[in-house]
Symmetry: D2
Subunit: 247 residues, 4 copies
Amino acid sequence: MITVAVLGAAGRMGTHVVNAVGAAPDLELVAALDHSDDVAQAARAGAQVAVDFTVPTATEANVHALIDLGINAVVGTTGWTEESLLRVEEHLRERPELGVLIAPNFALSAVLSMRFAAAAARYFESVEVVELHHPDKVDAPSGTAVHTARGIAAARAAAGIAASPDATTHDPDGARGAVIDGVHVHAVRLRGLVAHEEVLLGNPGEQLTIRTDSFDRVSFMPGVLLGVREVVRRPGLAVGLDSYMDL
Amino acid sequence: MITVAVLGAAGRMGTHVVNAVGAAPDLELVAALDHSDDVAQAARAGAQVAVDFTVPTATEANVHALIDLGINAVVGTTGWTEESLLRVEEHLRERPELGVLIAPNFALSAVLSMRFAAAAARYFESVEVVELHHPDKVDAPSGTAVHTARGIAAARAAAGIAASPDATTHDPDGARGAVIDGVHVHAVRLRGLVAHEEVLLGNPGEQLTIRTDSFDRVSFMPGVLLGVREVVRRPGLAVGLDSYMDL
Amino acid sequence: MITVAVLGAAGRMGTHVVNAVGAAPDLELVAALDHSDDVAQAARAGAQVAVDFTVPTATEANVHALIDLGINAVVGTTGWTEESLLRVEEHLRERPELGVLIAPNFALSAVLSMRFAAAAARYFESVEVVELHHPDKVDAPSGTAVHTARGIAAARAAAGIAASPDATTHDPDGARGAVIDGVHVHAVRLRGLVAHEEVLLGNPGEQLTIRTDSFDRVSFMPGVLLGVREVVRRPGLAVGLDSYMDL
Amino acid sequence: MITVAVLGAAGRMGTHVVNAVGAAPDLELVAALDHSDDVAQAARAGAQVAVDFTVPTATEANVHALIDLGINAVVGTTGWTEESLLRVEEHLRERPELGVLIAPNFALSAVLSMRFAAAAARYFESVEVVELHHPDKVDAPSGTAVHTARGIAAARAAAGIAASPDATTHDPDGARGAVIDGVHVHAVRLRGLVAHEEVLLGNPGEQLTIRTDSFDRVSFMPGVLLGVREVVRRPGLAVGLDSYMDL
């Protein structure tokens, strides 16, 4: 049984984490803390792991406090920079038995999709990305699609693969979409959708499609629980949930 | 048994038509004419129907010659204008027993998809079009996608439907694609593909997707044969294969 | 402004209908009645239309009471037989100005999908149905998939179309799925899904796919509101939402 | 420049390999041998690599002959058993500088799809496989689908994952399809299709879909060329194209 504290337990994600930990037979929820609560309560409650879904302005201080308290940390809060990650890595050297996971995305399908897309990208002549979201989204393309395209572009560059072929000479209205690091990205906005992404890879005579559909925030919970179960046996700093996955 | 002549029988489409007519148990190929052959040969061979896949500069003269010869016509050649259609309609008044079908597209899946998309468009809050083709195509979006978008837009306008919702305020790279008569159209180019199109329609909590895949020119043959079988019992001018379909 | 009463307003569907009517600018909610309330309250509140999402044992009596009260009815409750429909039809002859819509399915995407599948079925050599649902569903295939397959089979029979080709001689584990009126139907059960269906139609070189995704019960509301708006100007009994749609 | 001989050059696959090698700027075709030709001709022509697409009765002898001749081998012919693979492995110990690749499938999309499906399988509650082929296929499900399902099942067993949830109690017509090592597999047969497969993985609120489409035998060529380029720098026996891919 792993004992778990949730920081930011009253937030949208925190509420889901509290429920998911409570429902898992191998985990025990020992503390559900609000933004204003003292992180030391997690230690007094006997938590081995703390899950942080607080706010960008609080998360780094929380992690350092958790390390001092001897508690492993799983962090979904955004706002981490290269510098702040380095400070955590350095701090962890004092406590080599502790693990910290900082992950921008806990949706397993999205994490796997990006990983598979990058792995496959060098083996196909063509690759494009189509993301589809609800029509209330204000930015296009989605951050995940940009991240996916950059991962694909980096993998192709490392393998010395040329740009995807494209004979288009006449596209007066911009139907070919955005080009992110050389990869075409298309953004669909449709009532009824939540968050979806397709990576299309093509060779002569064959196509590989990797599609993710996220219907609900509850989809992040299997990834959060995976992080909790793994962080206790993976000392050191890990960035990205896929670093805990056997792929 | 319906007797059939093929005009432009040596062309890419004509060759397929010759084979398809030859393989159909209820049709008999009686003449396979080249561009330079005299259309009157079709009459001498006893053709009830002539299928014209010649060239834009010849097709109108061919149709008028066929009407004079008392032969029904199924025409897949492009280049027809409103004026040239009116001239055929007028000519047919002299021969009220004859039928002429002029169709820009004989792929049943594409014809049905456009028809269904237009019929469904007024019942959904959102609609977008994604077309996907091989990367040697020089124009984007495809003519079929433009035609599809216009049919959708016209159906929505006729029903007084507002534009699809879209909160996008930040799209620096054009990921939202082309806008054709108010309908977003996206063009994917991928090695291995031939010609594909998806119409996506969305309401709160539901989505309807209509997708067509064309892998081969042979896909036009069921539509051509449908035209041949129907033109002999549908006097007058028909434009578009769907005018012969019970939908 | 159309005035609306909801019968079964406290039920799962009724709650959604109350909210949807309340949010529609051209509709006014004048009564929200529970199962035990007297239907006459709808008349006293001045309702032009009553929406019935009650229970199979109550719905027929409700409709006859509404007809006597001079109120149009939109009915989503199940349990109607051929005989009970005939009794409503007969009763309506006394009140030729009233309309009654009885619909088993208000999801526009599902209604359209079934209609389009039946319309397209005669134009393709092959057709199969794949339905996908959450894994807590106890029956397979879904009632909607059976209904879809039967509509397809009836359309093909009416047009004299042969069975879909199938050379399978070795299928020891039943991978080819169920056969409903000659149409193969496959049932997928997957955590995370709600209710989805694909109709696949194939000819040499081409494919047409019609897919519906229902993510939420809210998806029935556009169909219910369509029924409310149309029933006031469509006297007589209508069965199936598609009878009110211009397709 | 890598020099290449093709064994079985006149066969369906061999013809494609001859063309693909001829078109690759970094490869040189030095010998195109028929089934009856002496393999030693490949050595006399100076081949560094031989590609074997012959017949099951000849392929093992060919590989041993190639090893004796000091030529690396890329083998797509089927019929290999555990014992015949062991004999090649043993023979290669005498020539530790040589590489042999024996691969049942050279379609990159299929190889990647099976690998990704197996890698992802342990992270999802549900997984099912849908394969779609032309209607002239006599067996169901396809060998690739069986292989995919077994890989998924093995990965889940190794990770101690329970069976996919399924509440089905009523399925009189077998709509739930085949069950291969506990994984449901569905087989669709549709005119116009070639060879396609979808792996569907589901968690609460999310879905991951991995789809491959093979339209043409030419789709095997990128995989064959990858094998040729890698075998010269990967001594020893490799089974499966994915053993040469950085995934």
